[in-house]
Symmetry: C2
C-alpha cells in the first residue's frame, strides 16, 4: 500500500457537498426548461470506440482524446518493431476505446444505431461529463460537464425560436437579467463573402472574424490578408463590424449589402422567420432588454462560431459586465449523422457552459439560499438520557419530511454546535434535563442566534414551511 | 471518416429517454432519503491516479482497472527493451491514470486530501458510474452506477441503526414490501471461529460461508476442509446455518454458543445496541414484516460479506420471491483511510445496486406512471394558419408550467399522432378551422381516446392538476 499523500490527476476536480448542491441547482433549472419544451434525457457511456471518435474533431481534437488501454495482456499482440513504427501504430494495437470528447458525436452515433426505433423529430438533452487531454489552465479542465439539447429530423425554424426561448428562460430562472443572445446565420456569412467578391471563402473569413473580440479589427485585417482575402474585400467587410441599429434596421441594411446572393437571401429569410415565430410566441426574449436598453436577442453579423459543421442559424450568449466568455452557444447543422454514413438528418442544437455559469452566479451572488438542500435541524445530545429522549423526536421530524440529524455522540457542546455551523444547518434543538422535564425543547435559530422553548409539534410546524 | 456502422464498447449501454427517466426516479428516491438523514453529495473525477487505485482491490481487482494512456507521444519515453520486460513495466510508463473502480477508494482519498477542512463526523453520499474490465455477461456491465452513503469519524452505532432505516425507507418508497435486511457482525464471526476451535481463521471461514447460498452446506463443508478447517470445527459450525427463531431468540442462542469470546461479546453487544436504537426510533424496519410474516430486519449468522475491510456490523438486502442477488449491502470498517497513511478513521457505509433495483421494479411493475416526466400535451398543426394560432397557445401552456410541444411541421395527422404515441404524450390538442373560429380547442385524451372541445383556460386547469 502506498503511504504517500494521494492526489487527483491534474485538470480534474473533486466537488464537495456545498459545490455539488449549487451545481445541481443549475442542472435542475436547465433540465426543467428542457423538459417543458419536450426534450428528454439521453445518457451514453463514458467510453466510445476510438473508431467512433477519431476523425470527428480535426487533428487537434484527435490528439486530445483520452485513450484507454485494452484490458488483458495487450503486449502479447505487440512486437518490438511496432514501437519503431511510431505512436499511431502502437496506439491502434493497444487502445480501441477512448473517453468521449463531447456529447454531439455520441448523440450522432446513438441516432444512427437506433435509427429504426427513433421517432423523428427526436428531441434529446444530455448532461454528462466529457474529457479532453488539454493543457490544464484557469477555467479549463480535463473533465467537465457539457449540457446539450438537440432536435434532429426537422428543418422547422420553430426549433431555433424555441432555443432562443429556452436560453432566455434558463438564464432568467437563474436570476440573470443583463445578457445578450447573439444570433447570426451561416448563409449571411456566405452571402457577405460573395458580396465582397470572395465567394466560397466564408470558411476562412469565419475563422478570422471569430477572433474579432480578441485581436481587434486590425488583427483581423492582417490575418485575412495572410489568408489571401483581397485588400478590397477586407475594406468592404470592415464596415460590417460596426453595423448599428435595431434588429429590423440591421436586417434592412443586410438586405441591401447582400443583394441577390442566394445564400444571403436564405440567411435573411430564415432569420426573419425566427423573429416571426418569437413574435407569435410573445417571447420575452424579444420584449425584455438588458441593462443598457438593448434587446436581449441581437443579430450580430460578426458572430461566426468556429465549428465548420454549422449550416444555418448560429447562437452565442454573453453575460454583460462580467469578464467571461460565452456561456451558451449552438446552431443548425445539415448533416450530423453523415459522419456515420446516414445522410439527410438535419438538426439544431445548443449547449450551456455550466462551469462558466457557476462562476457568473458566484460572482453576481445569485445562488439562492434555497439552493442549499442540507440538513434543516441538528439535535444536540448531552448524555445517554438526552440521546434516548432525542431519538423519537428525530423520527418525528423525519416523518414530517424534515432533514434532521442527531449528533451521534455526547461530544462537547462546542463541537456539536461547530458541526451545525460547518454544515450550515440553520436550526439546532437542545435537549437538557430541564427540557426533558417540561417537554418544551430549546430551538435555536443559528443565524439570528435566538432561542425559543417549543413543543415538538410547534417545532415541526415552524420548520416545515 | 468511417462509414461503417458504429457501435458501443461491449459491456456498456446507452440509456434512452424512457430508461433515464425511470433510473432518475430511483436515484431521486435514494437521494431524498440520504438528504433527510443528513448525508450530502460528493462527486469525484472519473480518472484517478493509478497510484491511488492500485493495490486496493487485490490482484484480481488490479487486473480489472481500466488504464488511460498518457497523452502526448509517450513512445519517446518507451524503448524496445521495455517491451521485453513485460506488461507491468510498460504499463507503468504509458499509463499513470485509471478509471475509478468503486466509490470507496476515491472517498477515502478525498477524506485524506481534505482532512483539515472536513468536519467530522462526515456524512457523504455519492452516485456516480464506475468502470471494471470484467468479462461482460447478463447483468454485469463494464460501466455501471454505484450509489454509496458513508459516515466516517464516529463509532456511534446510531449510524448503523440509521442505515437500516434508510434502506427500509428507500425500498418502501419504491413500493417494495417483501424484502429482508440481513444483519450480522464480524465480531460474531470471529467469536464463532474461536468457539469452534479455529481462532483467527474467520477470514477463511467468511469467504466460504459467503457461498452457502450458491454451493450449499455440502459444498461449504468440502471447501472448509480444503482450507484446513478441522472436521470437528466444521461439525460445530454446521448447526449455525439453520439457527431459527426471532431476533431475540437468535441473540440468546448466540450468547451461549459464543460464551466468553471477546470478539463474540463485542458483536453481540453492538447488535443489541443497534436494536435498542431502532426500538427508540420506533423504526418501521422493526415493526414491519414481509410477506411470510418474518420481520424485515433479521440477524443472519451466515451473512459474511467477502470484503475483508469490514470490522463491525455488516448488512445485505434481499428481495424475496425474486431471483436476484442482494440489492444493497455494506458494513463498518475501522481503517478506511489507513491505505493512504491516515489511521484511526472509523466509518460505516452501504450501497444500493441500482441496476438490480431497476430490474426488480420492472419485474414487479412498480414504476409509477408519475415517474414518466415527459411532454404532457402535443399541439397538432395542419397548416400555417393553425400553426400561427397554436403558437400563443403553446406559450400559455408553458407559462403555466405545463410541458408542451407543437409538432414543428404540418405533417400528416397520422404522423403527428404517431409522434405523441411514441413519446407517450397523454394529451393532444387539435386546432382546425372550426376550432379557430369557435375558440374552443379539441383536447384528445390519448389513453381513453376521448375528445372534448375546451377553451385554453379550461385545458390548462385540466392539465395542471
Amino acid at each position: 500500500m502506498s503511504k504517500e499523500k494521494p492526489s487527483i490527476p491534474k485538470g480534474t476536480r473533486d466537488f464537495g457537498p456545498a459545490v455539488v448542491v449549487k451545481r445541481n441547482y443549475i442542472f435542475n433549472t436547465i433540465k426543467r426548461t428542457f423538459e417543458k419544451f419536450g426534450y428528454l434525457p439521453l445518457e451514453t457511456p463514458a467510453m466510445e470506440q476510438l473508431s467512433v471518435l477519431t476523425g470527428k474533431y480535426g487533428d487537434e481534437g484527435d490528439q486530445l482524446l483520452f485513450k484507454i488501454l485494452n484490458s488483458g495482456d495487450f503486449l502479447s499482440k505487440t512486437k518490438p518493431e511496432d514501437l519503431e513504427q511510431g505512436y499511431k501504430n502502437i496506439t491502434r494495437k493497444v487502445a480501441e476505446k477512448g473517453l468521449r470528447y463531447d456529447l454531439t458525436v455520441p448523440f450522432a452515433r446513438f441516432v444512427v444505431m437506433n435509427r429504426n426505433e427513433i421517432t423523428f423529430p427526436f428531441k434529446r438533452y444530455q448532461i454528462q461529463p466529457v474529457w479532453r487531454a488539454d493543457r490544464p489552465q484557469k477555467g479549463r479542465y480535463r473533465e467537465f460537464y457539457q449540457c446539450d439539447a438537440d432536435v434532429v429530423g426537422t428543418n422547422s425554424l420553430l426549433c431555433e425560436a424555441e432555443i432562443v426561448q429556452m436560453i432566455n428562460e434558463v438564464l432568467t430562472a437563474l436570476g440573470l437579467t443583463d445578457f445578450t443572445i447573439k444570433i447570426n446565420h451561416r448563409g449571411i456569412l456566405a452571402g457577405i463573402a460573395e458580396a465582397i467578391g470572395e465567394k466560397g471563402r466564408e470558411g476562412d473569413i469565419c475563422v478570422v472574424i471569430d477572433k474579432l473580440d480578441k485581436i481587434g479589427a486590425e488583427g483581423v485585417r492582417k490575418e485575412l490578408l495572410e489568408r489571401g482575402i483581397s485588400e478590397s474585400a477586407v475594406a468592404k467587410l470592415e464596415p460590417l463590424y460596426t453595423l448599428e441599429g435595431t434588429n429590423e434596421q440591421l436586417l434592412e441594411q443586410l438586405q441591401s449589402i447582400l443583394g441577390e446572393t442566394a445564400e444571403g437571401q436564405r440567411g435573411l429569410a430564415d432569420l426573419r422567420e425566427v423573429w416571426q415565430y418569437l413574435s407569435k410566441l410573445n417571447s420575452q426574449a424579444l420584449t425584455a432588454s438588458n441593462a443598457s436598453g438593448i434587446p436581449r436577442l441581437m443579430l450580430d453579423v460578426t458572430l461566426a462560431r468556429g465549428l465548420s459543421y454549422y449550416t444555418g442559424c448560429i447562437f452565442e450568449v454573453k453575460v454583460n459586465n462580467v469578464s467571461m466568455g460565452s456561456i451558451s452557444g449552438g446552431g443548425r447543422y445539415d448533416n450530423l449523422t453523415g459522419m456515420f454514413g446516414m445522410p439527410g438528418v438535419s438538426g439544431v442544437g445548443f449547449s450551456f457552459g455550466v462551469d462558466r455559469i457557476y462562476d457568473v452566479l458566484e460572482e453576481l451572488m445569485l445562488f439562492p439560499d434555497s439552493s442549499q438542500v442540507g440538513t434543516k435541524v441538528l439535535l444536540v445530545q448531552f448524555d445517554k438520557d438526552s440521546e434516548f429522549y432525542a431519538l423519537p423526536v428525530l423520527q418525528q421530524l423525519r416523518d414530517a419530511g424534515i432533514a434532521a440529524e442527531l449528533y451521534p455522540e455526547p461530544a462537547k457542546l462546542k463541537k456539536q454546535m461547530g458541526y451545525a455551523d460547518q454544515k450550515s444547518i440553520p436550526y439546532v434543538i437542545l435537549i437538557g434535563s430541564e427540557e426533558m422535564a417540561s417537554g418544551k425543547l430549546k430551538l435555536r435559530d443559528m443565524q439570528l442566534g435566538e432561542q425559543q422553548d417549543l413543543t415538538i409539534e410547534e417545532i415541526i410546524s415552524l420548520l416545515i414551511k
